[in-house]
C-alpha cells in the first residue's frame, strides 16, 4: 500500500496518522484533557502544532484555545507528549505507546514530585479529591482496616499544589514542574474583561477583585502553562515567564532549543552552565549567531 497520511477528529479526540504498508504512526490529542495552552506548539520542532483562539460568543464564557496538528508536518517524535503537563498527547507506533525522543534520551521527561503520606489520613477526609480542579485524585478507605489509599493520575497532573495547600494534615508535598512569574497589569486590562480567568484550568489561580472588577493572580497555584496568555486581548496586560523546568537530566540540543523557547535564552544558558556543558554551549552560541545578526 502506498503511504497514507490522514487526520480524523471528533469532539473528544484528534488523531493524525502515517500509515505504511506494515507500520503505523499515530498521534492522539485527547480534547478532554487539553486545556489549550501554548506549550506543545512552542516547541514542536516541525511547527506542526498550532493554537487558535475560539471566537467569543456573546454572553458566554471565553472558551479555551484549540490545538490543531498538521498531519503532513508531524513526524511522530513525541516531543509534545513529553512536554504536556496535562498528559493530553500520545504517540503510538504500531499501537505501542512510544515517545522515541524519550527512549533515545533526546528529550527529558517532566518530573512531578508528588509525595503523599496516606498512612496518617483520617478515614473520612476527601478534601484533596474534592479540591483537585482536574479530578485526578481518588481517595478510598478500606472499611475493615481503615486503611486509606490515595490514587493520583500523575501523568495528567500539572502540579498546581491545590491539594497540598488544602490538606488539613499537611500530608501532601508537591514540587512544581514549572516555576516562573505571571503578572497582570490591571491598568491595561479592558473593562469587564476576564478572558484569562475564563480559560485558566486551575481554579483560584486567577480571581476577580470585588474592588475594581479586575483579574488578579494568586501565583501559588499557577502552573505557567500559558493558556491565559493566548486569549489575552491586550498586548501588555498579561506577562508570563518561566524560569525553571523540573525534568530528568538529558544532554540534547533539541532540549536546549525547547528550553530556550519555553523560558528564555538567559535561563537556558544558566541551566547549561550549571551542567558545565562547554561544547554544547559553543554549539548553541554558534547557532544563535546568525539570528543575532
Amino acid at each position: 500500500m502506498p503511504m497514507k497520511i490522514q487526520k480524523t477528529g471528533s469532539d473528544t479526540q484528534l488523531v493524525v496518522e502515517r500509515i505504511h504498508h506494515a507500520k503505523n504512526y499515530k498521534l492522539t490529542l485527547d480534547c478532554r484533557l487539553c486545556v489549550g495552552c501554548e506549550l506543545c506548539s512552542l516547541i514542536c520542532p516541525r511547527e506542526a502544532i498550532s493554537v487558535a483562539k475560539q471566537p467569543k460568543k456573546d454572553g458566554q464564557k471565553t472558551q479555551h484555545p484549540i490545538i490543531d496538528v498538521d498531519e503532513v508536518k508531524c513526524h511522530y517524535c513525541g516531543i509534545c507528549t513529553a512536554i504536556c503537563p496535562y498528559g493530553a498527547l500520545h504517540v503510538t507506533i504500531d499501537g505501542n505507546n512510544i515517545a522515541s525522543v524519550i527512549e533515545k534520551e533526546s528529550f527529558p521527561q517532566l518530573i512531578r514530585e508528588i509525595t503523599v503520606d496516606a498512612t496518617k489520613c483520617p478515614t473520612d477526609c476527601t478534601e484533596c479529591e474534592e479540591i483537585c480542579p482536574l479530578d485526578l485524585i481518588k481517595v478510598t478507605s478500606d472499611p475493615k482496616t481503615n486503611k486509606v489509599t490515595i490514587e493520583i493520575k500523575e501523568e495528567q497532573c500539572p502540579t498546581c499544589r491545590k491539594c497540598e495547600i488544602k490538606c488539613p494534615e499537611g500530608l501532601i508535598r508537591i514540587r512544581k514542574i514549572f516555576t516562573g512569574k505571571l503578572t497582570i497589569r490591571q491598568e491595561k486590562c479592558p473593562t469587564n474583561c476576564q478572558d484569562c480567568l475564563d480559560v485558566c484550568p486551575i481554579t483560584d489561580t486567577l480571581y476577580l477583585s470585588e474592588k475594581d472588577g479586575k483579574v488578579y493572580v494568586n501565583e501559588i497555584f499557577c502552573t505557567y502553562c500559558g493558556a491565559c496568555k493566548i486569549v489575552c486581548p491586550e498586548e501588555q496586560a498579561l506577562e508570563l515567564s518561566r524560569s525553571t523546568i523540573h525534568h530528568t537530566p538529558v544532554r540534547s540540543g533539541a532540549w536546549n532549543k525547547a528550553l530556550e523557547k519555553l523560558t528564555s535564552t538567559t535561563e537556558m544558558t544558566k541551566e547549561l552552565r550549571g551542567k558545565g556543558r562547554k561544547k554544547t554551549m559553543e554549539a548553541v552560541k554558534k547557532r544563535l549567531e546568525p539570528r543575532a545578526k
Binding site: 500500500m1 502506498p2 503511504m3 497514507k4 502515517r18 500509515i19 505504511h20 504498508h21 506494515a22 507500520k23 504512526y25 520542532p45 516541525r46 513526524h75 511522530y76 517524535c77 516531543i79 522515541s100 525522543v101 527512549e103 533515545k104 534520551e105 533526546s106 528529550f107 544532554r251 540534547s252 540540543g253 533539541a254 532540549w255 532549543k257 554544547t280 554549539a283 554558534k286 547557532r287
Partner: protein, 818 residues
C-alpha cells in the same frame, strides 16, 4: 589557387525503388542537365553504397567537378557520408550539397508520381542554385579534454563509468540521490534467471566506488553545461549531507541513537529510515546523510560519532566546476503511480499496490522482511492478480509500451508460486504477453508450467469488499468474449515507466531534445541510437525509453565506446558553419550597437566599445541568429549565406510561385519532423519547397519579404517548440520576436494572414507536419491563385524598394578553390 567557374555534377539516386518507384529518375537527370553550370549527371541504384561513391570520386577527377549535388535522401542521414566522399577526391567537402527527394518527395507523394517528379526536379534545381555559390571551408580543430561526465548512477551509468575508467579515462559519475544503484538496487530478483538483483549489482557498485579513475559525485545536481564537444564546462551543486565524506566510516552508530524516523522514499515509503541514515545497506558511497527536514538537532548523533567528528551541522551547498570532453546521460525513468485513475482504486484500497512496491515486499531486506502480506490485515494473500499495462499502451495516458512489465510480472508470479506453492493462486490479466529476446519465452513457459493463470483482457473496474478488504476485478475476457469477475486478495498494478520528472530541465541544460513521450531523443532511431543531436552528448539506458537491465547495460557500454571515440583524440574537428563579422560593415565602430552580442544564445560574440563585433569561433554553435539580427547585414554564416539562401528562394519560385509554399525549416525539429512524415509515409499535397537552415533563428525578415516579392503563395517558418526545444537554446524565441513584428506589417500591406505562418513542429511530430501541409494546401486553394497574384502585385513595388539594397548587391562572386 585558381579562380574557377562552377562545374556542377548532379547524381540522382534510385534508392532501390524507394525513389525510383515513384519518381521518374531519368526525367530528373534530363532536367538537371539543363541547369546552369551543370556539366555532369549520373543516376545510381544506391549512391551511398561503395560503387555509387566510387562514381562520384571518379567523376570529380575525370570531369574536373568542383561542386557535387546528390539528389537522394535527407541530408540529416547522408550529408556526412558524401562530404567524406568529396574529400577523398580532394574536393573541399563544403562544395557538396544534398537534394532531399526521398523524405520530401517520393515517400510522401507515392500516389502522385507526376507531381512528385516535378517537385524532385525543383528540389534539385534549388540545390544546384545553392551549390553554385558554395565556398570552401576549413574544418575547425579544437583540443579535447579527455575526461567524461556520466549523469545518473543506475545500472546503465555504472557500466558507462566502469568501461570508460577501464579504458583509462577519468570519469565523474554524477548521482542525484545519496547512492548509486538506481532502480535495480530496489528489485528483488531479476528475470529471466532469478538471480538476486543487489547481489549482482552490489559488486559493480563497489567496483565503481573503488576505481581510481572514477569520482562519484552523489547527492548533487547538475546546474549548467556550457561549451561544446571535447570542451564542456559543467557546474554541479553538491548538496550538504551534514556528514563529512572523508571522515564517515559508515559504522552506523549515529543511526542507532537517532530518535527520528521518516518515510524511506527508496523503499517506496513502505518503510522508514532514521533522520541520519543511509537509504539501504549496500549504498555506495557508504556515507551517512542527515536529513535536516526531519532532524530535531538533539545532537545525539554527534555524541555517538565521537572522536571521528564526521558530523558537521554547518555544511553548506558547494558548487564545483568540471571540465569534460564528453557527457553520457543515464538518468533512467520514474514509475507511474496511478492515483489519478479511479479505475484501480490505488491509494484508496489498501490491498492494491504497484509492482515496484511488490518488489519491496517480496525482498528479504524489505520493510516486511520478505513476507508478502496485505496492508489491511497483515495476512498473506491467497490470490494475487497482476494487471498489465496500467497507464502504458493507453492513448489517454502513455501511448507507448513500457517494455519490461510483462517480464517482471512473470518474474513476480513465478516467485510467488515458488515461495508459497499451492497456497497461492496467481492471475495475470494482460493485453499481449511480450516476451522477445533470449530466454524470455522460456520464462513465460515456466510461469505457465507452475500454474499461473493467464487471462487476456483489460480490467474495467476494481471494487473492494469493505469488510474483508478483498477485491473483485471486473474485466472483459477477450478469449471467451465475455465479461468476467475475478476475486483477488491482493492486486498488483504493473504501471508504466515514465520519463523522470526533471527530464525537461535536464534536456534544457544539455540542449538535447525529447520525444512526444517525454524521453530523451536519440539522433537516429536506428543508426545513432546512443547519440544525441549535440555532439559529445550521449544517452544510455532507460532515460531514452524503457529498457530492461541487459539492454541498459549494453547501452551503457555502447555509450562509453561512443564517448571514447572523442576522448581518445587529442583534437576534435567541428563544423565550420560558424558566423563571421565583416568588420568594415559593422556599425559598432561608430555607434553603440552590440545587438548581435546580446542576441547570441551562447554569448560567443564580443562587441567592445568602438570596435567591430567579433565572433569567438570555438564557442559559436552556428545557429545564425546573429546574422538575421544584425541591422547592418554585417554578419554572414558560412554555408548558409544570404546569397545562397536568396538563390534557393529564387530557384524555388521560378515557376508557378503562387501555387507554392516556401518553407524555412530548422534542421533539428521541423525539418526532422518533415523527414519523419516521409519515413512514416504520411501523404500530403506536394506544395512545399524546403530551405533547410540550422536554426529558425537564422531566418531573416528579408527571406520572407524576398519570397513574397518573388510571388510565393505561402511562406512557412518551421521551428522547434517554445520555450525549451530549440537546439540553440533560444534561436526560436528570437525568430518569433522578429516575426511577431513582421506579420502585422505584412497584413497591413494587404497580405492575407494565412499566407505567412510560423509553426512549431518537433522531430517526433511527423503526423503534425503532414496535417499542417494538408491544412495549408487547403487554405491556399481556398484563397485561389488570382487573389494571391493580386496581393503580390500590390506588394511588389514596396518589397522591391525594401529589398533594393540586398538584391542589387555585387555580381555573382567568382569563388576561389581552397
Amino acid at each position: 589557387m585558381v579562380d574557377e567557374q562552377p562545374r556542377v555534377g548532379v547524381f540522382v539516386c534510385h534508392c532501390g525503388l524507394n525513389i525510383a518507384g515513384v519518381i521518374d529518375v531519368k526525367a530528373v537527370i534530363e532536367y538537371a542537365r539543363t541547369l546552369p553550370d551543370v556539366v555532369f549527371t549520373k543516376d545510381n541504384r544506391y549512391t551511398c553504397a561503395d560503387p555509387g561513391q566510387d562514381e562520384i570520386r571518379k567523376a570529380i577527377k575525370e570531369h574536373r567537378l568542383n561542386r557535387v549535388v546528390v539528389a537522394a535522401c535527407s541530408p540529416r542521414m547522408h550529408e556526412p557520408t558524401f562530404r567524406k566522399t568529396c574529400a577523398e577526391a580532394d574536393l573541399n567537402p563544403f562544395f557538396f550539397e544534398m537534394a532531399n527527394i526521398r523524405e520530401f518527395s517520393s515517400w510522401c507523394h507515392p500516389n502522385t508520381p507526376k507531381e512528385a517528379t516535378e517537385k524532385a526536379k525543383e528540389i534539385v534545381r534549388m540545390a544546384v542554385a545553392k551549390a553554385r555559390l558554395l565556398q570552401p571551408l576549413k574544418e575547425i580543430e579544437v583540443p579535447v579534454t579527455n575526461k567524461a561526465l556520466v549523469i545518473g548512477g543506475g545500472i546503465a551509468g555504472i557500466n558507462s563509468a566502469l568501461d570508460l575508467a577501464e579504458m583509462g579515462f577519468r570519469v565523474y559519475l554524477l548521482e542525484k540521490t545519496e547512492s548509486i544503484g538506481g532502480h535495480m538496487a530496489q528489485l528483488d530478483k531479476t528475470f529471466p534467471t532469478l538471480d538476486c538483483s543487489i547481489c549482482i549489482e552490489g559488486p559493480k557498485m563497489v567496483d565503481v566506488g573503488r576505481h581510481p579513475n572514477i569520482d562519484i559525485i552523489s547527492y548533487a545536481d547538475l546546474v549548467s553545461v556550457s561549451g561544446y564537444v571535447g570542451n564542456f564546462k559543467v557546474k554541479i551543486r553538491k548538496n550538504p549531507r551534514y556528514v563529512i565524506h572523508e571522515d564517515c566510516t559508515g559504522c552506523g552508530e549515529c543511526k542507532e541513537v537517532c530518535p527520528i524516523e521518516y518515510p524511506n522514499e527508496w523503499d517506496m515509503n513502505m518503510g522508514v529510515r532514521k533522520a541520519i541514515s543511509i537509504p539501504f545497506e549496500q549504498a555506495v558511497p557508504l556515507v551517512y546523510t542527515l536529513n535536516m527536514d526531519h532532524c530535531i538537532e538533539c545532537y545525539k548523533c554527534i555524541d555517538a560519532c565521537g572522536a571521528r567528528q564526521a558530523i558537521n551541522f554547518d555544511q553548506e551547498p558547494e558548487e564545483i566546476e568540471l571540465d569534460v570532453g564528453a557527457i553520457i546521460v543515464a538518468t533512467g525513468f520514474d514509475i507511474y503511480l496511478p492515483y489519478d485513475d479511479p479505475l484501480y482504486g490505488y491509494g484508496k484500497y489498501d490491498n492494491v499496490i504497484t509492482a515496484l512496491e511488490f518488489e519491496r515486499l517480496i525482498l528479504a531486506a524489505g520493510p516486511t522482511g520478505g513476507k508478502v502480506i496485505r496492508a489491511s490485515d497483515g495476512e498473506k494473500p491467497h490470490t494475487v492478480a497482476f494487471i498489465q499495462c496500467v497507464g502504458s499502451r493507453n492513448l489517454k495516458k502513455f501511448e507507448y509500451c513500457s517494455g519490461f512489465c510483462c517480464m517482471y510480472a512473470l518474474k513476480n508470479a513465478i516467485l510467488l508460486k515458488e515461495k508459497y506453492k499451492r497456497d497461492v493462486e496467481v492471475y495475470v490479466l494482460y493485453m499481449d504477453m511480450r516476451t522477445p529476446f533470449k530466454g524470455y519465452e522460456e520464462f513465460y513457459k515456466r510461469a505457465r508450467d507452475l500454474g499461473v493463470t493467464f487471462i487476456r483482457g483489460r480490467a474495467s473496474h476494481i471494487i473492494e469488499d469493505p469488510d474483508k478488504n478483498n477485491l473483485v476485478i471486473r474485466a472483459e475476457d477477450m478469449t471467451l468474449g465475455q465479461p468476467i469477475e475475478l476475486p483477488a486478495e491482493m492486486v498488483v498494478l504493473c504501471t508504466a515507466a515514465v520519463p523522470r520528472s526533471d527530464a525537461g530541465e535536464m534536456a534544457r541544460i544539455l540542449n538535447i531534445s525529447r520525444g512526444t513521450d517525454g524521453f530523451f531523443m536519440e539522433s537516429h532511431p536506428k543508426l545513432k541510437p546512443i547519440d544525441t543531436p549535440v555532439d559529445g552528448v550521449f544517452v544510455a539506458g532507460s532515460c531514452q525509453a524503457p529498457k530492461d537491465i541487459p539492454y541498459s547495460v549494453s547501452q551503457g557500454s555502447g555509450a562509453a565506446a561512443r564517448a571514447a571515440t572523442i576522448l581518445s583524440k587529442k583534437k576534435w574537428k567541428i563544423e565550420p558553419i560558424v558566423a563571421e563579422v565583416n568588420a568594415d560593415l559593422c556599425k559598432n565602430t561608430q555607434a553603440k550597437c552590440g545587438i548581435c552580442a546580446q542576441r547570441c544564445p551562447y554569448g560567443s560574440i564580443e562587441a567592445l566599445e568602438k570596435q567591430p563585433a567579433k565572433v569567438i569561433t570555438a564557442m559559436c554553435h552556428g545557429c545564425g541568429t546573429c546574422v538575421a539580427e544584425c541591422p547592418s547585414d554585417a554578419i554572414t554564416q558560412n554555408h548558409f549565406t544570404d546569397e545562397q539562401i536568396f538563390a534557393q528562394i529564387a530557384s524555388a519560385l521560378e515557376e508557378n510561385p503562387e501555387g507554392k509554399i516556401l518553407g524555412f525549416l530548422c534542421n533539428w525539429c521541423c525539418y526532422a519532423g518533415a523527414d519523419l512524415a516521409g519515413t512514416s509515409r504520411f501523404e500530403y499535397p506536394p506544395l512545399i519547397r524546403p530551405v533547410r537552415v540550422m536554426c529558425s533563428g537564422r531566418v531573416d525578415k528579408d527571406f520572407v519579404l524576398e519570397a513574397f516579392r518573388k510571388g510565393a503563395g505561402m511562406v512557412l517558418i518551421g521551428a522547434c517548440h517554445l520555450p525549451y526545444d530549440c537546439h540553440y537554446i533560444s534561436g526560436n524565441a528570437r525568430m518569433k520576436a522578429r516575426m511577431d513584428v513582421l506579420a502585422p506589417m505584412l497584413e497591413k500591406l494587404g497580405l492575407s494572414p494565412q499566407r505567412f505562418k510560423v509553426e512549431y513542429v518537433s522531430a517526433a511530430e511527423g503526423l503534425k507536419f503532414a496535417e499542417l501541409m494538408k491544412e495549408m494546401a487547403a487554405q491556399l486553394q481556398e484563397l485561389g491563385p488570382d487573389k494571391v497574384k493580386a496581393e503580390n502585385a500590390k506588394l511588389k513595388p514596396i518589397l522591391d524598394r525594401m529589398l533594393a539594397k540586398k538584391t542589387q548587391k555585387k555580381p555573382p562572386q567568382i569563388i576561389q578553390k581552397a
